[in-house]
């Protein structure tokens, strides 16, 4: 019984930690239906056409693409393992491995919404349908609440530590401060990376 209580307590702490780092980004605002869009294939070819916009959650699972929206025969359905990513109007989705805030190990491929494109680090929002925030530098494995759970500072230093100013902040400041300012630090890192280019 004690073990069960400990397990439940641990899980509650885990979930509350994961949710504590959630931030609210502006949700995609596009009507359900077909809109102009593109798909980027695994060999990095960009195909122009039209993409069906379903909802935040469904858009993560598949991409329905048409070369001619008047002709249903031109429809192709892609899974996250088929594409690098896709766009619907100004919305960008990228295929990355992610299994949620409390997942472990390498996640399944998902189309995840690019909430804030950056020069070096993109900020993503994954919908459960609640928002979960994650970051990806280049093509490295994404950083999320679950990856930061046990190695918070080390993970942050891996993500942002190239910039010595930010590395100093990460080393000096506490977890609460860093969590609250993560978005600003990512912006600062992107500016630094762009200037360094």
């Amino acid at each position: 019984m004690k073990k069960l209580l400990s397990l439940i307590t641990f899980l509650m702490v885990l979930v509350s930690f994961a949710n504590a780092q959630d931030q609210k980004y502006v949700d995609p605002d596009l009507t359900r239906g077909i809109h102009p869009g593109t798909v980027t294939t695994l060999d990095k070819k960009v195909l122009q056409g039209y993409v069906f916009n379903a909802d935040h959650v469904q858009n993560q699972k598949r991409c329905i693409f048409y070369t001619d929206y008047n002709d249903g025969n031109t429809k192709t359905e892609y899974s996250p393992s088929d594409l690098v990513g896709y766009t619907i109007e100004n919305l960008q989705y990228k295929s990355i491995p992610y299994s949620g805030n409390i997942g472990s190990g390498k996640g399944d491929q998902q189309f995840v919404y690019v909430a804030k494109p950056g020069f070096a680090i993109n900020t993503f929002v994954y919908y459960t349908p609640a928002q979960q925030i994650l970051w990806q530098k280049g093509e490295e494995d994404p950083v999320s609440n679950s990856t930061m759970l046990f190695n918070f500072k080390k993970t942050l230093l891996n993500l942002l530590g190239d910039d010595p100013d930010i590395a100093a902040i990460v080393n000096d400041k506490g977890r609460v401060y860093l969590m609250m300012h993560l978005d600003i630090l990512v912006d600062q890192y992107n500016t630094w990376a762009q200037a360094k280019k």
Binding site: V26, P28, D29, L30, T31, G33, I34, H35, P36, Y50, Y69, E89, N90, K116, P117, T191
Partner: protein, 483 residues
């Protein structure tokens, strides 16, 4: 007046010979266009600049949008400064693009020092203001509410800026102006003060322009009973100030509204609409013709009649293509919606308007403004509530022809009962003789049936052969270039 009514059949038949093509730029990062925005634009060899101005809670906010020549939006940023405190206020006065460098002019009113100081700072590619602001000039004042005003104007060569400061007004004394001419590096190359002899009233400046020759044109609106007319206050550097009331000679005719532009010779040209003077008026005001004035001929305001009156004619643009002047206007009405809130609560609500946008009106004048070449009207009808940036008209020149770009009703051109009220971007080319080509429609190119983007013809930018117009949805903007 030659009335040009669109015939869908004619359009379908002739659009195959369309001379206007369209290119879309990439989507911007997150951005939404604010309603009730004022607008100015700049074009250089490197980029096109759009400046949207709005006021929120007494703060003047300029939004700078920069698009490269491929149409990609490379910067979209609100240019704001710390407003300071009640007795030490700062604010953005203007944003100009000087030789491809955006520059913001910032005013600071410091009650303690009794100084109103204008500074300028360059804006970098990320939309950040250079913190090393350059002081341009200062004025003494006693009251914060009467601290003088600053105005800045870019010269047509885009390499100089004229800045004028209107001193705090003292009743019974002439309004005094100081001027500062700046070079590309924002260094003051000449400065001085001037007044206008015979004037002892406050000059309420509505517009300020400067020529390459050192002519400073200050426009203020004056009133003849309820009728408004412009007065031009011209000062030539090294000369004396001249006051020119731009009044229509015929006492039965009055200005309805107007627009002013610099001519290639550096003179100031006004063109607008005239109305009949009446002791009693009911209904919407009707324009019975146009008027034109060139500052090189100070005693001559030319008037020209329409074939029939046009209600709510509003001047939008005045364009010279090297041969003739085109006055572009539209039938436009904005009715303010009565606010239900009252007292302090009313301050928290934006003003709301019902808009009506009717026919587009184009008038051609000879280069000297001495005679009218043509009038024509393009049939159109829209109504909207509170947001009408998509319903006005963009204009410019392509291949030496005037081009007007606007949203028209899809159903006028394409037989589709389900989409008849969609906004369909349309371009019409108009020759110097006043001949309008068949409208070119962009239903397929812009994916009108499935795109979430709407063209905003209020925000446009014209360079040689290209008319770049912003389009947007609720979260992003992009450019659409007509060429």
């Amino acid at each position: 007046m030659k009335y040009f009514l669109f015939s869908p059949a004619l359009l379908m038949g002739l659009s195959a010979f369309a001379q206007v093509q369209v290119v879309q730029g990439n989507n911007s990062s997150q951005f939404s266009v604010s309603k009730h925005a004022e607008f100015s634009s700049f074009t250089t060899d490197k980029a096109n600049y759009f400046v949207l101005k709005r006021t929120e809670h007494f703060e003047k906010i300029n939004t700078l949008i920069v698009a490269d020549k491929s149409g990609s939006v490379v910067t979209n940023k609100e240019i704001r400064v710390d407003m300071g405190s009640f007795n030490n206020q700062s604010g953005v006065k203007d944003l100009l693009v000087i030789n491809s460098t955006p520059v913001v002019f910032v005013e600071n009113r410091d009650k303690g020092a009794g100084k109103n100081v204008l500074t300028a700072g360059t804006i970098d590619g990320n939309g950040s203001i250079n913190t090393a602001l350059i002081t341009i000039g200062s004025m003494d004042f006693v009251k914060m509410s009467n601290a003088g005003e600053w105005y800045a104007a870019l010269t047509p060569d885009q390499k100089h800026v004229a800045v004028i400061g209107k001193s705090p007004y003292e009743k019974g004394s002439a309004t005094q102006f100081s001027y500062f001419m700046l070079d590309e590096k924002l260094q003051v190359t000449s400065k001085g003060i001037f007044t206008f002899a015979g004037n002892d009233k406050n000059i309420y400046v509505t517009n300020f322009l400067a020529s390459d020759k050192g002519d400073l044109y200050i426009i203020a609106d004056d009133f003849d009973k309820s009728y408004k007319y412009p007065t031009l206050y011209k000062y030539t550097i090294g000369g004396t100030g001249v006051i020119v009331p731009v009044v229509i000679t015929d006492p039965k005719l009055k200005n309805l509204n107007y627009i002013a532009r610099l001519s290639p010779q550096g003179d100031l040209v006004f063109a607008g609409y005239i109305q009949k003077k009446s002791t009693f008026s009911a209904g919407d005001p009707a324009a019975i013709g146009t008027w034109m004035f060139n500052s090189s001929k100070t005693n001559e305001v030319k008037t020209f009649n329409f074939d029939k009156p046009i209600t709510n004619a509003t001047a939008r643009n005045l364009i010279y293509n090297g041969d003739i002047w085109f006055l572009v206007g539209e039938q436009y009405k904005a009715d303010k919606v009565e606010m239900t809130a009252s007292g302090p609560a009313a301050a928290n609500f934006d003003e709301t308007y019902n808009y009506t946008h009717g026919d587009i009106i184009v008038t051609g004048f000879t280069a000297d403004g001495g005679s009218k070449k043509f009038d024509l009207s393009l049939d159109r009808q829209w109504t909207a509530k509170d947001f009408d940036q998509d319903l006005t008209v963009a204009s410019g020149t392509i291949n030496n022809k005037l081009v007007v770009v606007f949203n028209d009703q899809y159903g006028k051109y394409i037989d589709d009962r389900y989409h008849k009220f969609l906004k369909l971007p349309v371009a019409v080319l108009i020759s110097n003789a006043g001949v309008a080509d068949s409208p070119v429609i962009f239903a397929n190119e812009l994916d009108v049936k499935v795109s979430s983007y709407t063209l905003y013809p209020q925000f446009f930018n014209n360079d040689s052969g290209h008319l770049m117009v912003l389009s947007g949805n609720s979260q992003s903007i992009k450019t659409v270039t007509f060429q």
